[in-house]
């Protein structure tokens, strides 16, 4: 299960949070934990450099893209390698939508499109699409180019 996808700005404020199967009362812990994880490790990180952590049976892969920090959290079949795949799709789509690694402003300007991309990538905790070109078409309700 892909438990969560979160976007923060560099100050640790939430831009997007999508949880799947995480009880509401545990979400605050997640936010705090991930912000702390980021502030401990992401300083000076290069764009799209991957970071990884685990706690008991839960894995976290995170990265920085422009002025936005991205976190994906998973367990069971979504281990660190699967999450690396997920975050790769997410970063490619965000770059695609924004045209470059986004500033916070640019990210918010493209907010609607980014939400649609996320909707195509993860659906209720399951990875659904992995190809950015296909996703770009899907959010415009266009069929994939290869059929």
């Amino acid at each position: 299960m892909l438990l969560a996808v979160l976007f923060f700005n560099l100050e640790g404020n939430i831009l997007v949070e999508r949880f799947h199967g995480v009880p509401a009362e545990e979400r605050l812990h997640w936010r705090t934990f991930l912000v702390k994880l980021g502030s401990d490790n992401l300083k000076g990180a290069k764009n799209e450099e991957l970071f990884v952590a685990s706690h008991k049976s839960v894995y976290i892969v995170y990265s920085v893209l422009g002025d936005v920090c991205i976190y994906v959290v998973g367990k069971d079949e979504y281990d660190e390698l699967a999450l690396a795949e997920v975050i790769f799709v997410i970063t490619s789509c965000v770059k695609d939508v924004c045209g470059k690694p986004p500033t916070e402003r640019l990210f918010l300007d493209k907010y609607g499109k980014i939400c649609l991309c996320l909707d195509e990538i993860v659906w209720k905790g399951i990875l659904e699409n992995t190809d950015k070109d296909r996703i770009r078409r899907l959010i415009r309700l266009k069929p994939p180019a290869d059929i």
Partner: protein, 887 residues
């Protein structure tokens, strides 16, 4: 002068700080949502409002029921627009709002229309939305379309239906299971993602049918699976089949091993890694099987991608727990990871090295770790501390270096959890390595001189009170304890008073001086401290009161409370202050819930690191307390050993039962821990009917039923057997769970009056020789062996026949005897032809036993073993030989 018009440019830095959502407010956005009702819809404006709503929801904002309904109805109006971008937003918005069952009806017809649309993308999205908001009745109406969609030629439509199926399987399994044929067809799809989703769904549909899963795996491992993600799933399912099928008895080969090994050469790293991990997790994996997997993991260790390094080191860390020798080849690569930027990777590297290192490398490793400790977070430090504790138990001769290391880090900065982990480790080492006692206690004393945590100070004082008086020079600890009375807060002072009293009770020569100190405490500012001092002075005979018997005093000071703490707390809370004093005998002794089994908590928050595991003796203490509180068992004497829980049911069955074997000198008690996993049932009068016809020396004496077993609230029932005193009798017991089942109304939670008697077959249980042996290590095997002397020694030789490997033979003998391997001798270097293994333990009747096993293996893998046993009792030495001869 008017400013020139500036074209809106996303890249302009001066605009970067203005968020398009600045000052966004829920009420205002809900007002804006009224544009959805406009007769002339403005798609652009509507999309902007939806984006704002999404922003609010994604920030964790919630809508009240009324607000959500209002927005939902408004959004449904947008189906009138033909704007494609807006339609896509509408789909997302409806999913986010997840309307209630009575509202869904509004949108169903629009979605059904889209689901049959000629536009593929409408179909795919409508399926996803419908499946998100649908209930069982609607699902039967659209089932036909979903089945078609699964085999749709457009992969997006097929994936939408398949992923919907995965979700719906949780709520409507009987419907989704009917789609097997279509899903089976989709597994053969040429589209990679469709195959991945179809495989996941098909496996979930068939997961309880072993044969079907096995067939699925057999066919797919031969064919071509396109997507790496699907390949990973297949590897997982394959390992599951391997686990359930065991070795091929004729050839000794493991089924599907070749497939797993083949995946190690796949082009996708994800698949290579999954296969390597699957191989390392095979039960009873041999070094020949492990080698190729370890080789690829070793390559990953020096990958430039942190995720791969992390995955590899995490897997090697696990392998090192069971096969440390197999990982030693990677030691050099792992040492370079100690300086890895990613602290998770560095910590895993350190803890793996601690497991794979040999006795001679301990000092060098500790030097490296010392530098490393200063720049990692507490949570990582705790992991390292725990690894060092295990290392010290493995190489007891190295205790000096390791305890020194622990005491050094104890003095440095750190939070409570970290300090507690260190203190717990030192306490465990003192308990298990007698030679480490004096220096360990001394380090703890130093620590409490400057300890900011009340909890830890009191814990150490309590421990010091129990262990300190038994050392060669108890007087040297008094200074540290009395300093607490002068310098600390009331809680610690009270604790220090109790500790002083324990020294007074145990060491006669110190008694007069202790009295002087205790009398000073009579003037303390705190009631509790004064009360304790008065109490102890009187009990020990230092006051004017009567002098009690020595044994009574010690029982009072060192004995346990005899009642479960939870019950005591409850009774004290219920006690109304009155003339009548609180009576401890009124506290119920029955343990209500199951205090010993750990409750699983999947998906728990990662921040809480939880309490570190308590010392190894605490479980048996808790068992002993619980059993002695049950009158039927109180006459059985002292509990010798309690086994780890043995599962008697498979995972995910209606009733989960495991059993703990409690061994007494002349009795055995089976504690059946039962959990009812069906919310609609209440079980009453739960017992286990045990058939002991294959356990001749045992006769049932009593059985204690469990009155009531509600859903998901574990309870225990017991059955006790008598057996010949001091004899390690063995046997097989078959078990049948018997109970009265009552239906429960899920809406009210009330059970029906009448129940039906029912039975449930459990798996058999064996009492084996190892149950009569306590795993107790010795710090220096050679010294203990020599001091035991050859008086009760017995030596004999045995042929073990053809074995898979030397390591497997050594492991099997250790398991049969159930003894503690000493000095890391349970690990057999690969390719060695002979091996000596040292074991120690305490046999029933509290007889110390030492065993020296010498193994040899020849070309055709015939294993011979020489068994030398020394103990304090000849009959016990003979009994150990008897166990091997009959095993």
């Amino acid at each position: 002068m008017a400013q020139p018009f500036v074209k809106k440019d996303d890249d302009r830095d001066d605009e970067a700080e203005y968020s398009p959502f600045i000052g966004i407010e829920k009420g205002a956005v809900l007002q804006e949502a009224r544009v959805f009702h406009d007769p002339q819809l403005d798609p652009r404006r509507c999309s902007q409002v939806i984006t704002k709503l999404l922003y609010l929801l994604n920030q964790g904002e919630t809508f009240t029921k009324v607000e959500a309904t209002e927005v939902f109805f408004a959004v449904t109006k947008l189906f009138q627009s033909r704007d494609i971008g807006l339609r896509r937003m509408v789909y997302l918005m409806i999913k986010e709002l997840s309307p209630s069952a009575d509202e869904v009806i509004i949108v169903t017809s629009s979605l059904m229309k889209d689901m049959n649309s000629k536009t593929d993308m409408y179909r795919a999205n409508a399926i996803r939305v419908l499946c998100r908001i649908t209930d069982g009745t609607l699902l039967t109406q659209i089932e036909r379309y979903l089945k078609q969609a699964i085999v749709d030629k457009n992969p997006v439509v097929a994936s939408a239906a398949l992923v919907s199926g995965i979700h719906l399987l949780q709520t409507n399994p009987e419907i989704v299971k009917r789609w097997s044929n279509e899903v089976q067809e989709a597994v053969q799809s040429r589209a990679a993602l469709v195959q991945f989703h179809a495989l996941a769904l098909l496996h979930q549909i068939r997961q309880n049918d072993r044969l079907a899963v096995s067939k699925l795996v057999t066919s797919l491992t031969r064919g071509s699976v396109r997507s790496p993600l699907a390949q990973c799933l297949l590897i997982r399912y394959t390992s599951q089949v391997i686990r359930e099928s065991g070795l091929n008895t004729q050839t000794g080969d493991r089924p599907f091993y070749d497939y797993l090994e083949g995946c190690l050469r796949h082009k996708a790293e994800m698949v290579i890694f999954e296969a390597a991990r699957a191989i390392t997790e095979l039960s009873g994996v041999t070094s020949r099987e492990l080698t190729p997997a370890i080789t690829v993991l070793q390559l990953f260790l020096s990958s430039s991608k942190p995720v791969l390094r992390f995955a590899a080191i995490r897997t090697l860390n696990k392998v090192a727990m069971t096969h440390p020798m197999a990982v030693t080849n990677c030691n050099i690569d792992m040492e370079s990871l100690i300086s890895d930027q990613n602290r998770s990777i560095a910590t895993l590297a350190i803890t793996t090295l601690l497991k794979t290192g040999n006795e001679s490398s301990v000092d060098r490793l500790m030097k490296q770790i010392t530098n490393f400790m200063s720049d990692i977070a507490d949570e990582f430090k705790i992991v390292v501390v725990e690894a060092i504790r295990s290392l010290c138990l493995k190489f007891p001769l190295k205790y000096r270096t390791l305890i020194n290391f622990l005491s050094n880090i104890l003095r440095e900065e750190g939070g409570f959890e970290y300090k507690k982990a260190i203190v717990d480790s030192i306490v465990i080492l003192i308990r298990d390595i007698p030679d480490a006692k004096e220096s360990g206690l001394f380090h703890l004393c130093e620590f409490i001189e400057d300890c900011e945590f009340t909890y830890l100070s009191t814990q150490i004082l309590h421990f010091l009170g129990n262990e300190g008086p038994k050392t060669s020079d108890p007087s040297k600890y008094i200074r540290y304890i009395y300093n607490r009375v002068i310098l600390e807060n009331a809680t610690v002072r009270a604790s220090a008073v109790s500790t002083l009293a324990k020294f007074g009770a145990m060491v006669d020569s110190l008694k007069p001086r202790i009295f002087v100190l205790l009398r000073r405490c009579l003037f303390d500012s705190d009631d509790e401290v004064r009360d304790r001092a008065t109490l102890y002075l009187n009990t020990l005979g230092g006051g004017d009161g009567s002098i009690n018997g020595n044994k009574e005093v010690k029982d009072f000071l060192f004995g346990s409370l005899d009642v479960p703490l939870v019950n005591l707390e409850m009774s004290l809370k219920n006690y109304e202050p009155s003339e009548e004093p609180f009576d401890i005998d009124s506290v119920p002794r029955e343990v209500k819930s199951q205090p010993l089994a750990e409750k699983k908590a999947p998906g728990k928050k990662p921040t809480g690191l939880g309490a570190p595991p308590s010392g190894p003796t605490s479980t048996i203490d808790a068992y002993e307390k619980m059993l002695s509180s049950i009158p039927e068992f109180s006459s059985f004497g002292k509990l010798f050993k309690s086994s780890a829980p043995v599962e008697l049911t498979e995972a995910e069955t209606e009733y989960a039962v495991n059993v703990v074997k409690h061994i007494y000198d002349g009795h055995v008690v089976f504690q059946y821990n039962c959990t009812n996993t069906i919310p609609e049932q209440l079980l009453e009068n739960v017992t286990v009917i045990v058939d002991a016809s294959e356990a001749e020396e045992f006769s049932e004496v009593t059985s204690k039923p469990l009155r009531s077993l509600p859903y998901d609230s574990p309870g225990q029932t017991f059955v006790a057997f008598e057996k010949p005193v001091g004899v390690p009798a063995i046997g097989k017991f078959s078990n049948m769970l018997k109970f009265i089942v009552k239906e429960v109304d899920p809406s009210t939670g009330e059970a029906e009056e009448d129940g039906v008697e029912d039975e449930y077959q459990l798996e058999d249980l064996d009492v084996v020789a190892a149950d009569y042996m306590l795993k107790v290590g010795v710090s220096n095997f050679r010294n203990t062996w020599e001091s035991m002397g050859p008086d009760c020694e017995r030596v004999d030789e045995y042929g073990l026949g053809v074995r898979e490997s030397l390591a497997e033979a050594v492991g099997a003998v250790i398991d049969i005897l159930g003894m503690q391997p000493c000095e890391g001798t349970e690990v057999v270097p690969s390719n060695s032809r002979s091996h000596t293994c040292l074991l120690s333990g305490v046999f029933i009747g509290n007889v110390k036993v030492l065993v020296r096993l010498s193994f040899g293996i020849d070309g055709p893998k015939q294993v011979a073993m020489k068994l030398a046993v020394r103990s304090e009792d000849q009959t016990v030495s003979d009994a150990i030989h008897e166990i091997i001869a009959s095993g």
